[in-house]
């Protein structure tokens, strides 16, 4: 398939592997922040091809994984209201809340619809004017512009029954918080999709403040291998900087129009990340101008008390301090069919990816 096979070329991958081996003298830990990278790395068996001196660790880039249990509990409370239809991306419905999950609620009769695009959620709202249609807005700068566009569209069309329940987050505060907390890494594989929107400037603080490199990477094996090589070269030459490997998609300035929409609809707020706690200005809150589409403001609901699961080490795993195999629950009590933590639910979660491909 064009634009894919070229980036899965065995010979090219082998050449990069050799070059990495030749270049790497120091033991390095590189963190992939994006869940899509985690998935790709496991799916293609990339760790197998790297020299022992290059270690990959997974970061907090799976949107489902970093979303708080309290958020799920509130979504469950919404779906129990008789006049509410929940629309969501598929991954979220299996995430356990404190005492239930959206999947269980759906089996009991709640109206929960899986959509592939937020525009489908707008359609649901259009077709069900007597119901309140709530879209569960999770994800980083990748999915947040979609939510912003939908809110603007709903506002212009007078679609007053359309709401977004935002848990949207932005990436840089988490990347900085990890280093501040003392997580030992030597460089970041930067998220390709997030950067398509934001451009490279959001990462400038990382080489400047922390002396660590960021290489914005694509998702195919050749992309990832090349990005690893670029990072290893930066480290060996002691020249940390922000570089774009994924040049066929990411422009240095990003997608200006999407950035403007984000700015128009959302404002920063402090937000809670699983494993990292509250990070300053890391969440996206719907601005007052658009509050008629903000589920949190407009739909009152009683939410049960949030109970965190015992023994689950999703937190340290998201920080790259522990690997899924270090968790006592991994593969025994916590499996993809009966997940305890969110990292085991999403296909981008590190526990799910390890369970699936690398046990």
């Amino acid at each position: 398939m064009k634009y894919i096979d070229e980036y899965r070329d065995k010979e090219l991958v082998r050449l990069f592997a050799e070059e990495i081996k030749k270049t790497s003298t120091k033991h390095v830990k590189l963190m992939e922040v994006c869940g899509g990278h985690t998935m790709s790395i496991q799916k293609f068996g990339i760790p197998d091809l790297l020299p022992p001196s290059v270690e990959l660790i997974s970061g907090p880039g799976c949107p489902v994984c970093v979303t708080s249990r309290g958020y799920i509990d509130r979504a469950i409370a919404y779906c129990r209201l008789s006049n509410v239809i929940i629309t969501t991306y598929g991954d979220l419905i299996r995430v356990p809340g404190s005492t239930s999950s959206l999947e269980k609620e759906r089996a009991l009769g709640a109206d929960i619809r899986i959509v592939y695009s937020i525009l489908d959620a707008l359609m649901v709202a259009k077709e069900n004017r007597s119901k309140k249609v709530v879209f569960l807005g999770i994800g980083f700068e990748t999915t947040a512009p979609g939510s912003a566009a939908a809110i603007i569209k709903a506002s212009m069309a007078g679609l007053r029954n359309f709401y977004v329940y935002s848990a949207h987050k932005v990436m840089p505060p988490a990347m900085e918080a990890l280093i501040d907390e003392g997580v030992q890494i030597n460089g970041y594989l930067g998220p390709g999709h997030v950067s398509t929107i934001t451009g490279e400037k959001i990462y400038y603080g990382i080489p400047k403040k922390y002396g660590l490199g960021v290489v914005i990477s694509g998702f195919e094996p050749v992309d990832i291998m090349q990005s690893i090589l670029m990072l290893v070269q930066q480290i060996e030459n002691n020249q940390p900087k922000v570089e774009i490997q994924y040049t066929r998609v990411v422009k240095p300035e990003g997608n200006i129009k999407a950035q403007q929409m984000l700015e128009e609809v959302f404002e920063p707020r402090d937000d809670w990340w699983r494993g990292l706690g509250i990070l300053k200005d890391s969440g996206l809150k719907i601005r007052e101008n658009y509050q008629t589409h903000d589920a949190e403001k407009m739909i009152e609901v009683q939410v049960e008390k949030t109970i965190e699961p015992k023994g689950c080490i999703c937190g340290p795993i998201l920080k790259g301090l522990k690997k899924p195999k270090d968790c006592q629950l991994f593969g025994t009590v916590c499996t993809p069919s009966d997940p305890v933590g969110a990292c085991m639910v999403s296909s981008e979660g590190s526990c799910a990816a390890y369970y699936m491909y690398n046990r």
Partner: protein
């Protein structure tokens, strides 16, 4: 039957309307001497030896999809379950649960598809049942088929796979993921213009022609729900051998791959309805492959992997870039209501 007729509750009452439906539709298309007896049970002679018996229910959504409809699936699914056990499929039952208001014309198309598929496979639908439920109590129609086949004693070991040993080869009769992605693309919510056809087909002739006279057929399974990945993961579970698949040998149609990439599906786990996985001794594998390729349903057959003495209890994939990863069973569902 008139063109705009629909199914009414009366069609399931057991009275005159039911009889009319049977006479004008089911008996007409499924016609055979055993069905014609119209007794409470179908009766027939069977030869000496063992019988194989299987059942399957079909709830696919949508009922009509590129490459077939629920009727094709209902016959092929049960025929294939018998055939991969090494049995010769003989007789089928067909139970229908119909939703009030379902268009008669659509039912006729489906029944016709079942009759055609049965004829192709050389099996007879010899007994059946019809129930009608209120609108909203089932989605259009559900079909259950059960099947009986004759099992030769030399093939008794096939369904358990007890004779599998390291060095055996894994063969499949063509591309993977077609059915699942055909269903996905046919669902309205996606608005996809690409036309992916289901591979839905009866495999009994392909199988019998490929394996007849072979001494080293160790195991067969049709890779339906859960796809090829689930078949190989199940096969090695708790066993003293491993299983290696070479990703470069897997055939995936361009449009199937495209849709999988777009939606984040792994084609290894996407359903097929016309694919058989055969584990055969290394000495015979190439002969089986040669015969398969001569059959219209096996022109793209290939040897995709082998049984290994290492990696015991694990199925693993050598990836296109030369890496390794585990192939595990899928948890939860990748796609609901695909068959």
């Amino acid at each position: 039957m008139k063109k705009n007729d629909t199914i009414l509750l009366g069609h399931g009452s057991g009275g005159k309307m039911t009889h009319d439906l049977i006479d004008h539709l089911f008996a007409r298309y499924f016609d055979n001497s055993i069905l014609r007896q119209q007794g409470d049970s179908a009766t027939f002679d069977v030869g000496a030896g063992k019988l194989a018996f299987t059942t399957d229910s079909f709830v696919v959504d949508p009922v009509f999809f590129p490459g077939g409809n629920i009727g094709h699936l209902a016959v092929a699914g049960t025929v294939n379950d018998l055939a991969v056990s090494g049995a010769v499929p003989l007789y089928l039952s067909a139970g229908f649960i119909l939703e009030e208001g379902f268009p008669m014309e659509n039912l006729e198309t489906i029944v016709k598809a079942m009759a055609e598929e049965a004829k192709k496979a050389g099996v007879f639908i010899v007994t059946g049942d019809t129930k009608v439920v209120n609108r909203g109590q089932c989605d259009k129609l559900f079909i259950n088929t059960s099947g009986i086949g004759q099992l030769d004693s030399e093939y008794e070991h096939i369904s358990s796979g007890i004779n599998i040993r390291p060095g055996d080869k894994i063969i499949i009769n063509g591309s993977i993921g077609d059915h699942g992605m055909a269903i996905m693309s046919a669902r309205n919510e996606l608005n996809i213009s690409t036309k992916i056809e289901s591979d839905c087909a009866c495999l009994n002739h392909l199988i019998s022609e490929s394996i007849s006279g072979c001494q080293q057929i160790r195991f067969m399974r049709d890779a339906t729900r859960g796809g090829l990945g689930t078949v190989v993961a199940e096969l090695v579970k708790g066993k003293s051998f491993g299983l290696k698949i070479d990703e470069t040998k897997l055939q995936i149609k361009e449009n199937v791959r495209g849709l999988c990439e777009m939606l984040g599906f792994d084609p290894l786990y996407v359903a097929n309805e016309g694919k058989v996985v055969i584990v055969a001794g290394a000495d015979e594998a190439s002969e089986i492959l040669k015969r398969m390729k001569q059959h219209p349903l096996g022109t793209e057959a290939s040897i995709i992997g082998e049984i290994t003495s290492d990696h015991q209890g694990i199925a693993w994939l050598e990836t296109v870039i030369g890496g390794k990863r585990i192939i595990d069973m899928l948890s939860g569902h990748q796609l609901p209501r695909i068959c």
